[in-house]
């Protein structure tokens, strides 16, 4: 077993421990904890899918991230106001997903980095004006572009990690970096939530997300920082300084991503972005942090190592 496999085994270990704790709480607690149980069950499914994708083939991982982008974009388009005149434009936006993930598969960094922010962002307004309906044109262009940014461009950075070669002989390379990013981002979500539930007192941004507290935020940052420093040697080429820096960047960026999607939901008057993942809500509720951490982590890594 390589250290990469040990890392995956460790995640399963954590999941099993967490499941036992949740099971014990559900047996003892008089309160309704069905949502917590559902959440845990969904984690089994999600971690299962990722483990299979990681162990079988990088191409499977790229396809899984492409599907995540598709589902997230579909969720986004379904919850925002859209114009009937833009149906074709939405279809073009969906079509950018296979193309963007093809650049990932092809490791074609130059095109990967500009395809959406240059070509799609220039093309979509043009596709939209063909219908000659200028009422709501600006709003439409703005919302569609931001949807591509969050759901496709950002998330595809996570997938691009997997194509990166090992920095040192025998290093875990791309799969290790991807595992590190996804694990820390998702763990940070859980850690901030748990700290907040247990010790949360002082609201951090009540106008956007009334359940977020300073205690949750700082507790999460601390826990994720420790975990980043401990696990970086297993799956990344990071030195202690790199690991410490990214151990702060991931939880802070993750928090910002989380509250950004919260602000969007609050504006639209919805509680969840969807109902795809039992106990969690929609897929955007699950990957909200990743929409910020993926691109930032990718460029951090690229700047120092590639």
């Amino acid at each position: 077993m390589t250290s990469f496999h040990w890392a995956i085994a460790g995640i399963w270990g954590l999941l099993i421990v967490a499941s036992i704790i949740v099971f014990t709480i559900s047996k003892r607690s008089a309160k309704d904890v069905s949502e917590l149980v559902q959440r845990t069950q969904s984690w089994w499914v999600m971690i299962g899918i990722f483990t299979v994708a990681f162990l079988v083939n990088p191409v499977i991982s790229i396809i899984v991230f492409g599907l995540i982008s598709f589902l997230a974009l579909k969720e986004y388009f379904s919850m925002i106001p859209t114009r009937r005149a833009d149906r074709r434009v939405l279809l073009w936006a969906y079509l950018s997903i296979p193309i963007q993930y093809f650049w990932v598969y092809d490791s074609y960094y130059g095109m990967f980095a500009v395809f959406i922010p240059v070509y799609m962002f220039l093309f979509l307004p043009f596709a939209s004006l063909i219908s000659q309906q200028t009422d709501g044109f600006l709003k439409s262009v703005g919302t569609l572009n931001w949807g591509l940014m969050l759901c496709v461009f950002s998330i595809s950075h996570a997938a691009f990690l997997i194509t990166l070669p090992p920095v040192t002989d025998g290093g875990a390379g791309g799969p290790g970096l991807l595992l590190f990013l996804v694990f820390l981002t998702q763990f940070n979500d859980v850690a901030q939530y748990t700290w907040g539930k247990m010790f949360g007192r002082h609201k951090i941004i009540p106008g956007v997300s009334p359940n977020k507290t300073w205690e949750g935020f700082l507790g999460g940052v601390g826990t994720t920082f420790v975990l980043a420093v401990l696990t970086a040697p297993l799956v990344t080429p990071f030195s202690l300084a790199h690991a410490a820096a990214i151990g702060l960047i991931i939880p802070v960026a993750g928090f910002v991503g989380d509250v950004t999607v919260s602000a969007l939901k609050r504006d639209l008057g919805v509680k969840d972005t969807g109902s795809l993942i039992p106990g969690h809500g929609g897929i955007l509720d699950r990957i909200d942090s990743l929409t910020f951490t993926a691109a930032i982590f990718f460029h951090f890594t690229r700047f120092f190592f590639y």
Binding site: K74, S78, T82, L276
Partner: protein
């Protein structure tokens, strides 16, 4: 057989391209006699309601649709009858001697589940129009048959009238509690209208201009 194969494809397409958020699926009747009453925005309405049924129940689920559209050509007629299992209804009332709803009565007597769209037309996507009263005649004749209201949203965005281009959207399917014949047609229609109102207010839907 043909119908099953067709709906296996539809089930996959509905699951992947659309994605459904179904509330209270257990209230959807798959054994008759029963009447499912839904709002109508798209050809997908029937497809989606049928896709929610178990495959081996499909032969007993009967969508009711306009004869002038679905039985307009021999090809359409064959598909409508053998694949979609449609019961035709004359919208214009051309043949006055025959009750246009005769096919519906017959199906309920054979313990089928009817799917009715009392708006009568898909109309403007995601806008409900006044309900046609045909459904109340059926309920009057079968006062013990449960009527199940179903409100759908999003299907008219995915495939509105006048377009063959399917654009993926998540769609909501809200199934309401069954109710029975209320005693007279006017109050029955009011009850039905109110049920749709309640279901449509369960969620803040994104606007669609």
């Amino acid at each position: 057989m043909l119908q099953k194969v067709f709906y296996i494809f539809i089930k996959i397409a509905v699951l992947f391209l659309l994605g459904l958020n179904v509330r209270r699926k257990e209230l959807l009747p798959d054994t008759g006699p029963a009447i499912i009453v839904a709002n109508h925005n798209s050809h997908l309405d029937t497809m989606v309601l049928m896709a929610l049924m178990p495959l081996d129940r499909l032969k007993d689920i009967k969508p009711v649709a306009a004869a002038d559209y679905f039985f307009s050509t021999p090809k359409m007629e064959w598909i409508s009858e053998h694949v979609l299992g449609i019961i035709p209804v004359e919208r214009s009332g051309a043949k006055k001697s025959v009750d246009p709803l005769q096919g519906c009565y017959g199906a309920l007597e054979q313990n089928k589940v009817l799917i009715l769209f009392p708006e009568g037309s898909r109309g403007e996507p995601e806008k409900m129009i006044d309900l046609k009263k045909g459904v109340s005649y059926i309920a009057e004749r079968f006062p013990d048959v449960p009527v199940v209201p179903v409100f759908t949203h999003g299907l008219g965005k995915a495939l509105p009238r006048g377009s063959w281009l399917l654009v993926p959207f998540f769609c909501d399917i809200f199934v309401g509690d069954a109710f029975n014949w209320t005693g007279d047609r006017a109050s029955f229609m009011i009850t039905l209208q109110e049920r749709f109102q309640t279901l449509s207010k369960e969620k803040n839907f994104a606007s669609w201009e």
